[in-house]
């Protein structure tokens, strides 16, 4: 006759350390847990609702500018630092964690048209309506020192945008033509044109760093090769493109923010048709920026809304609306 004893092995219910989770014995028998699908549906619905209820997308506003903010830039080495250029020529450097302004510079007379940081994060460049390109140190001047730019380049025409190379001491400006500058020189290393309209923005490719993209007011997007110093290809859309942005994880993908309320994601090698058309905005899209993961991007529109699009979806996953924007955006982990 076999006698079955109740045996309890402490290993089965006593945790080894205090940090371990308590073991909860559970019976996974499906008959004990019926209605999986309806229950899960309700759970998912509740979770989504709660997420909406408790979402606080707006964290803070950074007060200080006396005029509208025209451009923004993020710091490449510090997640908490953001730079902003205003319409009265003022540039401010902000600390996001403290939500305070670290530094204020009267950089230009008139608009600050473009602002970009150097890849090392030690200095930044601004272009303004006063036809100058100025390089500034990121750190403030020491006591008793005058607030002065490191370099000032006086140009012949107004520059409308600026972007810095991702690896080298080179930057590009745009205006009547795309100029590529060596930081040490006062004249551009080379300048590239295709057509005669004013170019509104220029962007370096973050992966294949010799590639540039620009968009002009004659409705086209032009790609340039810095090494061969020629334009590569031009695509003409129905309406003007305001900005383009390269995907930081996929070398040949870029997204263009267009006036026809849409965003177009292109494969650089096949410009005939866009890879994806992102629509949801109800007015001209003013700016676009990729998330560093390359999976999403955020766009700002004249309809006073910001939308977040997944790269492979044509509809946005998130939207916020506010009063008025002109936006360049920051989107970090």
């Amino acid at each position: 006759m076999k006698v079955k004893m109740l045996s309890r092995n402490p290993d089965n219910y006593v945790r080894e350390t205090k940090l371990d989770l308590q073991r909860v014995p559970r019976n996974y028998d499906p008959t004990l847990h019926p209605f999986e699908v309806p229950r899960e549906y309700i759970r998912a619905l509740n979770a989504t609702k709660l997420e909406r209820v408790f979402a606080k997308p707006f964290l803070a506003s950074l007060d200080g500018h006396r005029d509208g903010v025209n451009c923004l830039a993020k710091h490449p080495k510090s997640l908490a630092t953001v730079l902003s250029g205003a319409c009265d020529g003022e540039v401010r450097i902000w600390n996001l964690t403290k939500r305070k302004c670290n530094r204020t510079i009267q950089a230009h007379e008139g608009f600050v048209r473009g602002i970009c940081t150097r890849f090392c994060g030690t200095s930044f460049f601004t272009v303004g309506d006063d036809k100058t390109v100025k390089q500034w140190k990121m750190d403030g001047p020491s006591y008793g020192e005058e607030e002065e730019p490191l370099h000032t380049i006086l140009g012949k025409t107004v520059y409308t945008g600026i972007d810095h190379h991702w690896k080298e001491a080179v930057f590009a400006t745009c205006g009547q033509q795309v100029d590529i500058w060596d930081e040490q020189r006062t004249s551009p290393v080379c300048s590239m044109t295709w057509g005669f309209d004013s170019i509104s923005s220029v962007k370096f490719n973050p992966i294949e760093t010799f590639l540039l993209g620009s968009c002009a007011s004659d409705r086209n997007i032009v790609l340039y090769d810095m090494r061969q110093s020629t334009p590569l290809k031009k695509v003409i859309l129905d309406m003007r493109t305001n900005t383009i942005c390269w995907n930081p994880m996929e070398a040949f993908i870029f997204t263009a923010a267009n006036e026809d309320y849409n965003l177009y994601t292109f494969d650089m090698r096949a410009l005939d048709t866009p890879v994806m058309v992102h629509m949801d905005h109800v007015s001209a899209v003013l700016d676009v920026d990729y998330s560093p993961t390359g999976k999403e991007f955020v766009s700002a529109s004249f309809d006073k809304s910001i939308r977040i699009f997944p790269v492979d979806k044509s509809r946005s996953r998130y939207v916020t609306t506010s009063k008025l924007f002109f936006l360049f955006d920051v989107f970090l982990s």
């Binding site: 076999k2 996974y28 028998d29 499906p30 008959t31 847990h33 999986e36 699908v37 229950r39 899960e40 759970r43 490449p76 997640l79 012949k156 025409t157 190379h165 991702w166 690896k167 080298e168 001491a169 080179v170 033509q177 590529i180 060596d182 004249s187 551009p188 290393v189 080379c190 300048s191 973050p206 992966i207 294949e208 760093t209 010799f210 590639l211 790609l223 090769d225 810095m226 090494r227 061969q228 110093s229 020629t230 334009p231 590569l232 290809k233 930081p248 994880m249 996929e250 070398a251 040949f252 993908i253 650089m268 090698r269 560093p292 993961t293 390359g294 999976k295 492979d312 970090l332 982990s333």
Partner: protein, 771 residues
């Protein structure tokens, strides 16, 4: 003034003319012609003078008036001819002179050469440049394709992609930044200082570090030397073995073998004294050798060599001896070892008896791999039993024995054992939640395998019972002996027994189940149904979908429509022993009672039937009645159109297809599209799925932690992208993914070929400055 001067000159001219005229008239004058020419010239001059007189500015200087059409001897002129000067014209006169042949040749060559084409215009050149550059760049970019694809398809991406390697900091570096703060620390620090221990200085000097590394090298050297030695030894040994193998002398080999055997025996003896477990192992080896010998016919005079010897044996003593030797060897090898226990000795005796029919026995022994107590006992049973049973059923008696061994061994007790077994099985089934079905012995349910199993099992068991009782007489003796043997066995073995027993029994029952399941399938057909038709019923909803099938058969007794309302009597299977059934019934009754109490006054079935009736009514197409009271008749209050009229104007809608739940009494199938449900349905099949069933299946599987284990839940809900807060995600780099990025900097390339661009820029600047 001018005019005056002109007049003067004119005057002078006229005077001169007069003079000349005078001379002309003179006979002394030269020839007439001369005079003529002279006159002409004069006339010309006069004309000139006159013409110069009237226009102030028209004073032309002397004009050469050579005849243009005439080619003079001294002059070449192309004027007026309207012809181009062609090379051939020049060559024409050269023909005759041979001295100019070289020049002629040269000229000919020049003539044959084509002119260089005009350079392309700037736009076109630029376009070509652009195209070439674009192709090159897009080719260069294509290297990213696999990486992009991989990242897109990745189940999970963890950013930053490049893991920052944790910097290995030597202890000294860590220490250098550390200072003693607490009193205890300071105390320790002081102590260390007193003993002159290095605290912040590097614990090891560079020389020491180097020496440490050198030590490792030495180790390596030692190891290498060892390996070399081992290899050398092996090769020596191999060489020796090869040499020895070549020796043909039989005597040598015999001596060698004997020596080896003696040595082995000695060693074994020694081992037995020193290490009994190792000795046992050795023994096992010998046992195995014995088994191998028994399996083979190697030394049983059945080989080619043996047969040839057998022919010779009559005449040749040596051959006979050789054969005998072989047989002796066989005997020696197959002999049981004396070390084994007494019981085994006994068995041996039995075995020897059984050697009359050695083949069957041998076969069984072959089946067993290693020393298996089962087989031994099985053998002791005698061969008859084995012959009775099919090879399939062979394991069965073993199982019985297992139970027999545990219980007291009596032939009468076997029934009890069987009952126990049955109970055990049923309890097992209860655990699997199939017990309810199992109770029903339903023949028409092809999928209800469990019920079939029960039936077949019962049958099999009864068969077994019979068999056992038949055999009991024979078995008795042997089984008793086995029991005794078991009792007499060493305690260690007895301890092992239950463990050993369990395994084969379990495996066996599984096998048995399968077998019996098969058996049951065809047995069912033959045997008349044990359960009456009236007793067939559906108690649980699982059985009900089978209702239509049932209807097809003529044997149906219960009205389908009343199926829900009829009472389901408990099923009685004849084969189930009464005691067990009673127990079951009691339990069920209790449960039923409880359910009844809980849902008293809650007539779900009637409600359902009512609901269904309503649904059927609602879904029926309605007839259209177009009769107008008072039309073609007298009008007024309370008039009803006649039945005839009504029939005439009644438009009967055609009968729709039969309802799908017509034959399903306990189901309502609503075929209308449910708007509320539609809100939760997808319109198109989502991308990766190719068939709606796949999609439905994935949707059906729950992902929550309620339905999955923690591990599975975590796996199912892993986020696609994982980022670490506070870490900067840099754009992907060629070096990160194993590509070689161009070493030349982009800028240097630009500076190297400033060419037309700088020029263009200069131009541009110039233009700007002009503007």
């Amino acid at each position: 003034m001018n005019v005056v001067r002109a007049a003067e000159s004119l005057l002078a001219l006229s005077q001169q003319e007069e003079l000349e005229d005078l001379s002309k008239d003179d006979p002394l004058s030269p020839s007439e012609d001369e005079g003529d020419i002279d006159g002409e010239r004069k006339h010309q001059k006069l004309l000139e003078a006159i013409s110069s007189l009237d226009g102030k500015n028209r004073r032309k200087l002397a004009e050469r008036s050579e005849a243009s059409l005439k080619v003079s001897e001294f002059n070449v002129t192309s004027e007026g001819s309207g012809e181009k000067l062609v090379l051939s014209d020049l060559l024409g006169p050269v023909k005759t002179s041979s001295s100019l042949a070289a020049v002629k040749k040269q000229l000919n060559r020049v003539k044959s050469k084509k002119t260089v084409e005009l350079p392309l215009n700037k736009e076109e050149v630029e376009r070509i440049h652009r195209e070439v550059a674009f192709n090159k760049t897009s080719q260069a970019l294509s290297k990213w394709d696999p990486i992009v694809l991989k990242n897109r398809q990745a189940e999970q991406l963890v950013f930053p992609l490049k893991k920052e390697q944790s910097v290995f900091a030597p202890i000294e570096h860590v220490l250098s930044g550390w200072k003693a703060r607490t009193p205890l620390e300071q105390e320790v620090f002081n102590l260390l200082h007193k003993n002159k221990q290095p605290v912040t200085d590097p614990l090891l000097t560079p020389v020491e570090k180097a020496s440490l590394k050198a030590m490792s090298l030495e180790d390596a050297k030692v190891r290498r030397a060892e390996l070399q030695r081992a290899r050398a030894l092996q090769s020596y040994y191999e060489a020796r073995a090869r040499r020895e193998k070549k020796i043909k002398s039989k005597k040598y080999h015999k001596v060698l073998k004997k020596g080896k055997a003696r040595k082995a025996l000695k060693e074994f003896e020694k081992l037995r004294k020193v290490n009994p477990t190792a000795a046992l192992e050795e023994l096992e080896k010998i046992e195995k050798a014995r088994m191998m010998e028994r399996m083979s016919l190697k030394h049983q005079n059945s080989g080619k060599w043996a047969k040839s010897k057998a022919i010779m044996a009559k005449y040749d003593l040596e051959a006979r001896q050789a054969m005998q030797e072989q047989l002796a060897r066989n005997k020696e090898l197959t002999q049981k070892l004396q070390v084994a226990s007494d019981s085994e000795e006994e068995e041996e005796g039995v075995e020897e008896e059984g050697e009359l029919v050695p083949d069957a026995v041998n076969e069984i022994q072959m089946d067993a791999n290693g020393p298996n107590p089962w087989m031994l006992r099985n053998l002791s049973r005698g061969t008859k039993e084995i012959k009775v049973q099919d090879p399939e059923q062979l394991p069965e008696p073993v199982a019985h024995e297992a139970s027999e061994n545990e219980e007291e061994e009596r032939p009468g007790a076997e029934e009890e054992i069987l009952l126990n077994e049955f109970e055990e099985r049923r309890s097992l089934r209860k655990k699997s939640g199939l017990n309810q079905d199992a109770e029903l012995v339903s023949r028409r349910e092809p999928k209800g395998s469990s019920s079939q199993e029960v039936l077949s099992e019962l049958r099999a068991l009864s068969q077994k019972l019979n068999k056992e009782s038949q055999q009991s007489g024979k078995q008795n003796v042997s089984s008793v002996r086995t029991v005794l043997a078991v009792q007499r066995e060493e305690p260690t073995e007895a301890e092992e027994e239950p463990l050993l027993l369990q395994r084969p029994e379990r495996a066996h029952t599984l096998e048995e189940l399968e077998e019996l399941g098969k058996e049951g399938c065809f047995q069912n057909k033959e045997v008349p149904r044990p359960v009456g038709e009236g007793q067939q019923s559906e108690r649980n909803p699982d059985n009900q979908p089978d209702a239509p099938k049932e209807k097809k058969r003529k044997e149906q007794m219960i009205d389908l429509q009343n199926l829900l309302t009829t009472k389901s009597p408990s099923v009685k299977s004849l084969a189930v022993p009464m005691t067990v059934e009673e127990l079951e019934d009691e339990e069920e009754r209790d449960q039923k009672q409880m359910i009844k109490e809980a849902f008293a006054g809650d007539d779900v079935i009637r409600d359902f039937l009512k609901e269904k009736r309503e649904a059927v009514e609602a879904s029926k197409p309605k007839d259209v009645d177009l009769t107008l009271p008072g039309w073609g008749e007298w009008g007024g209050m309370g008039l009803k159109p006649s039945a005839k009229k009504r029939r005439r104007f009644l438009i009967k809608t055609p009968e729709g297809p039969p309802r799908k739940d017509k034959n399903l009494p306990n189901v309502i199938i609503n075929e209308k599209r449910n708007v509320h449900a539609a809100a939760h349905q997808v319109r198109v099949l989502p991308y990766p799925f190719t068939h709606h069933r796949q999609f439905e299946r994935t949707i059906q599987t729950p992902i929550g932690s309620t339905w999955n284990t923690q591990r599975a839940f975590q796996k199912l809900t892993t986020p696609k992208v994982v980022t670490k807060p506070g870490h900067i995600i840099k754009p992907i780099k060629a070096e990160d993914v194993g590509y070689r990025s161009s070493s030349r900097s982009d800028l240097s390339v630009v500076q190297r070929n400033p060419k037309q661009l700088s020029i263009r820029h200069k131009k541009h600047l110039k233009k700007n400055s002009v503007d």
